[in-house]
Subunit: 339 residues, 3 copies
């Protein structure tokens, strides 16, 4: 945060390198949504769903695109990427982190190595052989098993478990409840019972990745599970053993990816999707929410398989027909023959 | 629990304000299901699925509706809401909570404020500025970050993480592993990489809410994520940033709700549903399990989109036809023309 | 692990009781995948997807079936169950567990009973009345509430919560973040608000069960939730109150099972399935991924209801038709009449 609590619109425009329309001396002390903002707050318009709110907003200024600005008589900051500009401004309001320290209740093994300015929260456990680089922040209640390596400027929020030998890159952020490097689901049927297949691989997480709350990522069975740089995972995602995810791919909450599947770069995977095992998903593939993938997908573009909800009476009738679809088809063929 | 271990049916009927048929002096020492109950136990019939078990039950008495009672010759307690009456009786058998105390291993910041009769379990961490009202019970392994507020008589079971500034109402109950107030999934694409959008909003949870095990609720991005009073969430639910949920809405396990969606009051959302972002779901809407919602729903009533499982051979054939449905439709149109 | 770091193929073949083809004096120091293995490593071929990699592997030897061996000129170990043989070999490479000890930061109630060679990790909490049998290993950050019983040789990895009175059999393995014995989602609508139905039952987990990371299992409402022996649960599974799961059933990640449903023995449940409440699923039933079950299933065999993703344009058109399916059907009937 800047060491001041209000800025003029002029100052904001200069710092964010945006064109400003309106009163440059207007003072701003915060940010808010279009509908909630008052005259001391900046709002933004990035999602067209909210364009209609522009007419009624009381915001002190709005960050918006040139096109949207043409209709808007109030103070505004024009951006080719309004959401990015908003994110840059929002950073001014993030509270300063607590000063880095090692809480006396933390249990840090004598064989762990800590860089400069490393914080370890209350009741966290750092195992033997762990190496935490400069400025790494481990929140309270975390457990890093033996020989984990965390590169500089990464933040492990709280109550995260990280399995043995896991490696995290720089500026990685892991949210509460995540489990990184758990055993994969490896079972071999041995005559009359399941035999557990030992899980010997590792987990590598690239620079700038973000891992959501209560998300689980299994380490590899022999080779490694790998997230390339800038992979973004929402909450409650499940990544099975030996999965590979390409750079800049973002995955929304509740999606599961089965073992040994590779996902390309720049993919956008919707929430609650299920992706089968041993598949190849290419680059720049978009998957809409709740879709299922059972075959490899190579051509970039958008794919889906989920059905939006309808009133139950109508839907029940359609399900009944759906279950007779093959019969319907054959009946139609017959009709055509007779035609 | 009452300070005695058996009651006469007469005593139970009086206390629960129910009409009794049968032997009022019969003694009862516990509760059980229709199929398991013995002559010292009370069973109940609320779900018609189990009506056939009435014929064979050995229960000392059964709580049931007037209609079901007409067929039943044994001891019974007649209730217009058998499940509610059972719940009231079951409360007599809930073990008394351990006496409220602060475990010596708990880490409580000097800047936290605790009311009367507050319990804090082993290895829990209470951050600076937290305010816990009278009779709040925090179980073991919980983390409350700075400035959380928990109103009276709330119970945070164990291993729960609560983010900075989160506010919980009275009589809230949070089950193990829940994450309340995590960062939402806010990303802005900035030319060649994702930029994290700072998450600055809060999380407000109303009186009498219940939050299931390993459920995650993100705090707002600018405004707040809000659960009104008496919202009931099962396990492993994901609530994204800025979601609003109306009073008395109950949501079954594994459902995910994307960002900025509002759900009305008195809704019943089935398990494993996916509800898209920026939608308005009205009051008294029921969603059947595994349904997907991609448009706002206003009219009260039941909606769905999931398909029940069929034998795989039949289903495969129907999927094949489903993928040619548009073709089929156009062929049919042609036929009609020729007709 | 054997107290040596390399073995001859001859030694491996003898110990695993496999027929060997090739150079019995070839020395092996590790295991790897077909694509990654070098000449000192053993690979295996169990999944036909990877058969094509046999041509190019540089593995020192391959474990494979007799049929696959007939084409393969290199060193090999012939197994009727290559995946089981691989799992047996992989066990030689599992690191020895840390010596069993009680970490000084562990909080163990004076009323708990610990067998021989029991380990309790840093910051774990063992409640009054708990009984841990010989060789039980509790990792760091676990919480066992009062009166839990864990039979010999079980491993509770880390950060697991186990509710009061839960019983775990022998050789059970529980992965990080799991919640065992939480309150079920029991609600009774009482005029104008939800009344919580007290959850009084228990949770019994049989011998040789495995419970995945962040999986949740509710205890029973009156009776018990029961997993028979050798039940295998992947990550992020939700098992509701009073569910019964038969021996040797394996369930993949993200699946949810609603209350009071019973699943038979030897079932294989795919990932992200939803199984409704109060159902009976028989023995040897396979459910493909993302399927929904709303009726009881008795006949053994494979069932499914999910639809694989298609390009979005095609899928949108098919959805539109799907929603008119009943109309289509009736139109077809009309056509037939006119025919």
């Amino acid at each position: 945060m800047l060491p001041q609590s209000t800025w003029t619109l002029q100052q904001i425009a200069e710092r964010l390198k945006l064109v400003m329309h309106g009163d440059g001396q207007h003072r701003i002390s915060g940010i808010a949504t279009l509908s909630d903002a008052d005259s001391q707050q900046v709002a933004f318009l990035a999602n067209p769903t909210y364009r209609k709110q522009l007419a009624d907003t009381r915001a002190g200024a709005v960050i918006l695109s040139e096109r949207d600005a043409s209709d808007y008589p109030g103070n505004c900051l024009i951006s080719s990427q309004p959401y990015v500009s908003y994110a840059q401004l929002a950073e001014w309001f993030v509270p300063d982190p607590a000063p880095a320290d090692i809480h006396p209740s933390a249990v840090i093994d004598a064989q762990a190595t800590l860089g400069n300015n490393v914080a370890v929260g209350a009741n966290s456990v750092i195992g033997p052989g762990c190496r935490l680089a400069d400025n790494v922040r481990i929140g309270p209640g975390c457990i890093l098993e033996s020989d984990c390596q965390v590169e500089r400027d990464s933040v492990i929020m709280a109550r995260v478990w990280i399995g043995p030998n896991t490696r995290l890159g720089k500026r990685v952020r892991v949210h509460p409840g995540a489990v990184l490097g758990s055993d994969g689901f490896g079972l071999a049927w041995n005559q009359d019972h399941w035999k557990k297949v030992p899980q010997l691989g590792g987990l590598l997480i690239g620079d700038d990745c973000e891992i959501g709350a209560n998300t689980t990522i299994d380490r590899g069975s022999i080779g490694d599970t790998v997230l390339a740089e800038d992979v973004r995972l929402d909450n409650q995602i499940q990544i099975a053993h030996n999965v590979q995810i390409g750079a800049h791919t973002a995955i929304a909450a509740c999606t599961g990816i089965a073992g040994s599947t590779s996902i390309g770069e720049h993919c956008l995977i919707g929430g609650a999707c299920g992706i089968g095992g041993h598949l190849q998903i290419g680059d720049r593939i978009t998957l809409t929410g709740m879709s299922m993938v059972t075959h490899s997908l190579q051509a970039p573009g958008s794919y889906g398989s989920a059905i939006p909800a309808a009133p139950q009476k109508i839907w029940h009738r359609n399900i009944a027909r759906l279950r007779q679809l093959d019969k319907l088809w054959r009946r139609l063929k017959e009709l055509k023959k007779n035609d």
